[in-house]
Subunit: 185 residues, 2 copies
């Protein structure tokens, strides 16, 4: 099959994991399943990842990069910029539900290396900056940012888990607009 892309095994494992996560969901993202797809023995990852969760953390890191890139691509004057960012956040959760789920499974990722916690911090900082920019001279900009961020995140999770089937009936964009504006006045 002519010159298979034979990158170092580490990258191949991560990529296989990403694909498997999208295709089969987090529940089937087994260490052994990843090795099967990669075509190596089940002990191979150990050379690069001390534990299964460490591999999961590496997979999650790629997702965090994707999410980060999407959010930084948000554009518009203050208010519209926030609405755009919020919609992109929800779009990520909708398009990559498995990855979104993994990103917040701290029981799997905690202490698994790759310090995702600190890596996701600038992501929130970006959000907070947008809020501060859209709502200058507010006494508690961080609280406002937390309020909006948690709102979008809660919306995304409850939508992803279909906890609110109601959400299917309502159009998302006006809801997000309303939410963002609620937090800005």
């Amino acid at each position: 099959m002519s010159t298979v892309t034979s990158s170092p095994l580490r990258d191949r494992l991560v990529q296989a994991g990403v694909e498997l996560l999208e295709e089969e969901g987090l529940g089937n993202l087994t260490l052994r399943a990843i090795t099967r797809r990669t075509g190596v023995s089940h002990g191979a990852p150990r050379r690069y990842f001390p534990t299964h969760n460490a591999l999961l953390a590496a997979i999650a890191a790629t997702g965090l990069e994707d999410l980060s890139a999407r959010l930084q691509a948000a554009e518009g004057i203050p208010e519209e910029g926030l609405i755009d960012a919020a919609l992109r956040y929800l779009g990520f959760a909708a398009e990559r539900p498995g990855m979104f789920e993994l990103l917040f499974r701290h029981d799997l990722l905690e202490g698994a290396g790759g310090n995702l916690r600190s890596r996701s911090l600038p992501l929130f900082q970006h959000f907070a900056d947008l809020v501060a920019q859209a709502r200058p001279s507010t006494p508690d900009p961080r609280d406002r940012a937390i309020a909006l961020w948690t709102n979008i995140h809660g919306l995304a999770t409850l939508r992803a888990t279909r906890a609110l089937d109601l959400l299917g009936t309502t159009n998302l964009t006006p809801l997000v607009q309303q939410i963002v504006r609620s937090h800005l006045r």
Copy 2:
């Protein structure tokens, strides 16, 4: 040891599961661990629960009852009532993080019987009623309820997973007050 409370095994399994969930967390809430604590063989639950997840669903049902009772105990004129309910919601997540986590692990509970989905619906309805009551003559009461509910839920999850260490530094009550009021105007 004189008249051990020998309720039917079903209840003992559920109770053991609840205790284990609080003590050891969801990650250790194994079917076999529950049977060990109950003092029966690992095959015993099968008589009452076709699968491990079905037992988890029964455990989650007790948590949903607790949460429901807490929310319905919320009091106060419209706005304060919502603030109280929100704080109770956050209190539940803080006091029983394992149960809170389980309640939203739809990957475990889905299709496991006990139709938690429909049972949790009146809970949201209660929330929506409070919102409609506090904000009469609004064109889209359900959207407002969704907005507020997702906000509180997102705050609870991000706090439970300590995704925002920032939250440790800010006092929760004023933040919740601010959030509720943001959604009511």
